[in-house]
Structures are given as C-alpha cells and as structure tokens.
C-alpha cells in the first residue's frame, strides 16, 4: 500500500483515496509538432526499475493533482510536491540522492 502526503491538504492519503495519473513532467507536443515529438508525447513512457516520478490526484479528498517521487522496487516514497512545477524541486532530488546515489530519470539526476 502506497501512502502519499497530499501537498495541498496535508493528509496522509493511502492509494485507495487517490487516482493515478501516469508519468510526471511530460511535455505536451500538439499541432505543428514533429511526428517524432508527438509520438513521444502520446506513447513513449518510462518504465524504470527504481526511482520514478508520477502524477496522482487526491480524488477522494481535496481533489488536487500533485506529483510524487517513489521507488518502483520497494515502493518507498521519496516525497510529494505540487503540480505547478516543471521538474522535481531540489529538495526532492537531494532526498533521492541520499537514498539512491547516482540516480537518474529522463533528463533529471
């Protein structure tokens, strides 16, 4: 069972109170984009063994979307942060570095 702290209402919500929203920090490529970029935006997803970034929604709670950083092997949660950010905050990245030295995910490390 995953338990995330919702960064909007502060509740420790277990995953039955949340809805998964897939991979985090996707850049939208819309009309006018190259076929390659559009394909990447629509279909290409990370499937890491280890550090991962996801979007979740506190659907049975305050209703807000947020980001979560966790480990797909151990289900350890490194932290959660608000949706209004284009990349993981430094605090979260530092926290991951302590527990998973040398980690990287897409262009982040």
């Amino acid at each position: 069972m995953l338990i995330f702290e919702c960064p909007y209402c502060g509740i420790q919500a277990d995953e039955t109170e949340l809805s998964p929203g897939g991979e985090a920090h996707l850049k939208r490529h819309g009309p006018g984009a190259s076929d390659e970029d559009f394909e990447g935006y629509l279909f290409m997803r990370e499937n890491p063994k280890g550090v991962h970034f996801e979007r979740w929604r506190h659907s049975n709670g305050c209703g807000k979307w947020f980001h979560a950083a966790r480990c797909t092997i151990t289900l350890e949660v490194f932290g959660t942060y608000k949706a209004q950010t284009l990349e993981p905050p430094k605090k979260i990245k530092d926290q991951i570095a302590v527990k998973r030295p040398g980690w990287s995910w897409r262009t982040f490390s």
């Binding site: 209402c9 109170e17 305050c62 807000k64």
Partner: protein, 184 residues
C-alpha cells in the same frame, strides 16, 4: 420541479443510530478561501486547513485550498449567497447552492468512530481525529466528508445520487453484533 424530500431514509437503530437529514442548506464557494470580506459577509472567522468552524447558525468547512462549504438552515441559503457574492464581486469566485445535490447522515452512539473506521481509510483513533476537523475521504466506493460534533456524534455528507449506497453501508457497519469495541 420535484418537491424537496425531508427524510430520504428511516432511522436505523444499530449499535450506533444512523439517520438522514436532507433538509440542510449547503453552499459551496470556490476561489480564495482567505478572501477579504468573506469572513465579514459570513459573520465569522474562516476555518484553517482541514477545519470546520461554528458560526452564527451555520458551520463553515475548509474543503480544499480553494474551496469552502457553508452548512446552514435551508431558508437562509438565498440571503447568504447574496451577501457572499457581494463580498466577492471583484474576485474570480464561484458561489453555488448545492443543498439539493447532497445528503447528510448523522451517526449517534458511543462507537461512532469505529463505524466510520470500517468504511473509510482514516485513522479514527481518539487523538488522531476529533471535533473541529473536517475530513474528505471515501466511504467504500464513494466520496464523502465527515466531521464530529462530540465524541458520540458524527456527521457525514455525500452526493445525494449515492445517498442510498451510503445509507446501506452505514447500516451494515452499525449492525448490532458487529461491534469491535476498539476505543470504548
């Protein structure tokens, strides 16, 4: 227009009693929950994060960083909306009467905590949750919010479209003989 129903379900007498109060007024407000003038329009101080406060013939609950809910007598709803809308006239905000979209259940008895604990993923142990707090969560498969108005009294609000599901699961949870006596 359909006539408002004042009692959707009969009172259930389990080891905790379950009754439905559907004639309550409810107003939802979206926008800045700390908006200037809002407290004055409501005549009370506004609730902090996850709290519910008692006002003059009303209760005000914090629902999310941009949402407040007012519970009041149904006949006060129209006037309150006019006042609140006036205080928010220069802001991007929404005020809506949702009374007919909701149902309220009242649980009474010494074991109200465990009747909720059986249905919702919330730590109901004394000290972990208590009066003055508003908790939005799920009950079984549906969304609901609840608050306590004493150690043996608890209120639950949910969408009226799923009120029957809520009523039935509360009755099952409160059935005589299913006591856990966790905290009594």
């Amino acid at each position: 227009m359909s006539e408002p129903q004042t009692s959707l379900f009969p009172q259930f007498n389990g080891y905790v009693t379950v009754s439905c109060e559907s004639d309550m007024g409810m107003i939802i407000m979206r926008g800045s929950v700390t908006a200037k003038g809002l407290g004055a329009a409501l005549g009370t101080s506004l609730p902090k994060e996850r709290k519910i406060v008692e006002g003059k013939e009303m209760q005000i609950a914090w629902m999310s960083p941009d949402e407040l809910m007012v519970l009041c007598r149904k006949e006060h709803v129209a006037d309150l909306i006019t006042e609140v809308e006036g205080s928010l006239s220069t802001q991007h905000a929404l005020v809506a009467d949702v009374s007919d979209a909701r149902a309220i259940f009242k649980l009474k008895g010494a074991n109200v905590r465990e009747v909720v604990a059986k249905l919702a993923p919330v730590d109901m142990a004394p000290g972990q949750f208590g009066s003055g707090e508003m908790r939005r969560t799920r009950f079984g498969q549906i969304a609901g919010a609840f608050w306590m108005t004493g150690e043996d009294e608890l209120n639950i609000v949910c969408f009226r479209s799923v009120a029957e599901y809520m009523y039935k699961q509360l009755c099952v949870s409160a059935t005589q003989g299913s006591e856990l006596d966790l905290w009594t």
